[in-house]
Amino acid sequence: MTDDFNTYSEPMLEMFMFETNQSMEQLEEILLNIEGNSTITDDDINEVFRIMHTIKGSSSMMMFNNISKITHSLEDLFYFIREKKIYDLDLTRLSDLVFSTIDFISFEISKIEKGNEPDGDESQLTSNIKDYLDSIKNDHPDQEIILSEDEGNHENFISKENVSPNSNEFIAKIFFQEDCKMENMRAFTLLRDLEEIISEVSHTPKDLFDDEEAADKIIEDGFNMVFRSEEDYDKLLDLLKDGMFVESVELEEVEDKKAKSEEIKKKKVDLEEQKKKTINETLKNPFSLNKNKNIISVNVEKMDMLMDLVGEIVITESMVTKNPEIQNLELENFDKASRQLRKLNNELQDIVMSIRMIQIGPTFHKMHRIVRDMNKQLDKNTRLEISGEETEVDKNIIDTLGEPLMHLIRNSLDHGIESTEERIAKGKDEKGLVSLDAVNTGGDVIITIKDDGKGLNREKLLEKASKNNLLTKSPEDMSDKEVFSLILLPGFSTKDDVTEYSGRGVGMDVVKKSIEKVGGNIQIESEKDVGTTINIKIPLTLAIIDGMKISVGDSIFTVPTNTIKESFKAKKEDLIKDTSGKEMILIREDVYPVVRLHEIFNLKSEKTSLLEGILVMVETEESNYCLFADEILGEQQVVVKPIPGYLMQYTVKDSGVAGCAILGNADISLILDISGISNKYI
């Protein structure tokens, strides 16, 4: 990079990277479409051309010359294809070239993102593109490019024929600034600027438009004009000097001689304009490069700050409205105002949450490219089906999910889906199927990756785990689920069986870690020769829920209000024990299990008799049960924070804790996982 790069600010660079990355994604989509349909349309060609043109421009502004060069060569290729209207293209070769270009550019951008120099060498790829263009040219030698309106035109400059007696003759030599580019057009601009006041013009270089070397000639020798004008010398000199990017002007007033001088040549110039503007026609097609027209991009940090602030507002609102100092007062107006405040805060929360939520669709769509590449490399024929694209997920999660998903898809294709022959032999559809789904269950997002491949082999997994000293239980005691989870252990995959595609240092354990970092978990199901299903469950990172605070000894827990059915004090006659000694309670002819919170969390409580304390009946999808706690403290909206990443390596999540809530007084209350407790203790 040269000094000039320092004039480009961070925001400019970020915008460049953002736009280029977006363009690469669009380009990829177009190409996948072309491959999928096995045809290329005019729109496709135009869009690719346009994208290449735009990136050529911006990358050259940013002085990323390798990107500029490669996009230039692709632009030339697609320009030729468009102008010559060529449709019999070798689509495979063409798409490979474009995909390679996408990869090259994306890689360079990632270097820039990391603060490194984009030093990739584009020359091999550029020459491949040129070779392809040459081969197309060879195949289509006769077609003429349909020219724009004025190919073959002469100068469009009318020189005034009537020479006034007061006009004088002038000779001018003009040099333009170094590197102002298109010097011939600069000269033309100058002629237009002076149009009204000069006549009988002749100039060298003579031909500004068709002579390819006109610009060079002007750089060397300057733009030389001979003309007549009524204006005086000084005015003319000023006008000339005022020309855009004019470096120097030599102006000479010539004595009015009728005698022919070598430098005076009269020339008639024609003005011709073709009506058909063919190039402009083709460019007029409405593209939508910017698919999202009314969107602004916001810095993620600002969003995080906004979220935190909203959370704090919720907590502070509680501090005000539930302030002990006013608890016993009857304040009608205050209550009314509080309710209004609560209403507005709820709306604010909803909107802020929704801003951070992004559809998972684009992340899923990226997987198409992976599947395509792997199909090619592994000579397999696998289909990727995506569903649940509109499922919205917090931006944090989207960012973390990308890599793990890619790894899992690669795994499915590499280790899961069998070769076409094997599949046919097994009586399966010769096309393998990998499906990707996302569903929002209110509190969590569940992402499923399913393949119809050969499934996981229990014996082989156990063997491998044993070899790597990873077994902590005897194999007979392990359920299938536990055996399948072995692949998530660090050290499971040895370097020997890491193939090029599914795990260079990105083992399943790293996938697991990434998912746990956002508070999620991963589970694997599999059946031999049927396939493997991987379920990833991730809680929404920030939720604000209505919670009921209950106390157990010195601890305060929060129960999501939407799980509570009722609460009451137990009556002796309703308490019973079932055959295994578990405590139950009889309520209106139904019997419900009782879970003692102080027991499951090992807390000291004074209220150990079920008759003291309070019972809270909660419901899950499957059933209802009762929690036994000391007291109910009151309802409060709480900000839900996930269990910290560090704790995910322990069994905290399984113990019945769904997350943490920060209370109005800044204390932390653990949020109970009502279904988790049911699963574990009942």
């Binding site: 043109h53 050529k56 421009g57 502004m61 237009r192 438009f209």
Partner: protein, 117 residues
């Protein structure tokens, strides 16, 4: 301060031009991402200068230039072009563009060009 309207379909270019000009005493009063919107905004904002990308969707720079010239024959429009677009530059000049600049360009060149308009 001269008021500038930037018309370009690439957000990056709009951003870059805006950054360059704001630093040099120009006021960016509007942006448009295609020629049609460019003409609309010209009508709304009456800028002193317009920077106009030559190739854009939904009405290219030259057509937009012509429309603007119809509204105000004295409009100062600077065309922004890329190498290899000589014919388009020529047509722009014929259509009344007061000047042009070629990508990639440095800040000082852009500023100098606008100062001449």
């Amino acid at each position: 301060m001269k008021k500038v309207l930037i018309v370009d379909d690439a957000a990056f270019m709009r951003h870059t031009i805006k950054a360059m000009l704001s630093k040099n005493g120009f006021e960016i009063i509007g942006e448009a991402e295609n020629g049609a919107l460019g003409v609309e905004r010209y009508k709304e904002l009456s800028p002193d200068i317009v920077t106009m990308d030559i190739t854009m969707p939904e009405k290219d720079g030259i057509e937009a230039l012509k429309d603007i010239k119809k509204i105000d024959p004295n409009a100062s429009v600077l065309m922004v072009s890329a190498m290899g677009q000589e014919k388009l530059v020529k047509n722009s000049i014929i259509a009344g563009a007061k000047g042009f600049i070629v990508k990639p360009f440095k800040e000082d060149k852009l500023v100098e060009a606008l100062n001449k308009l």
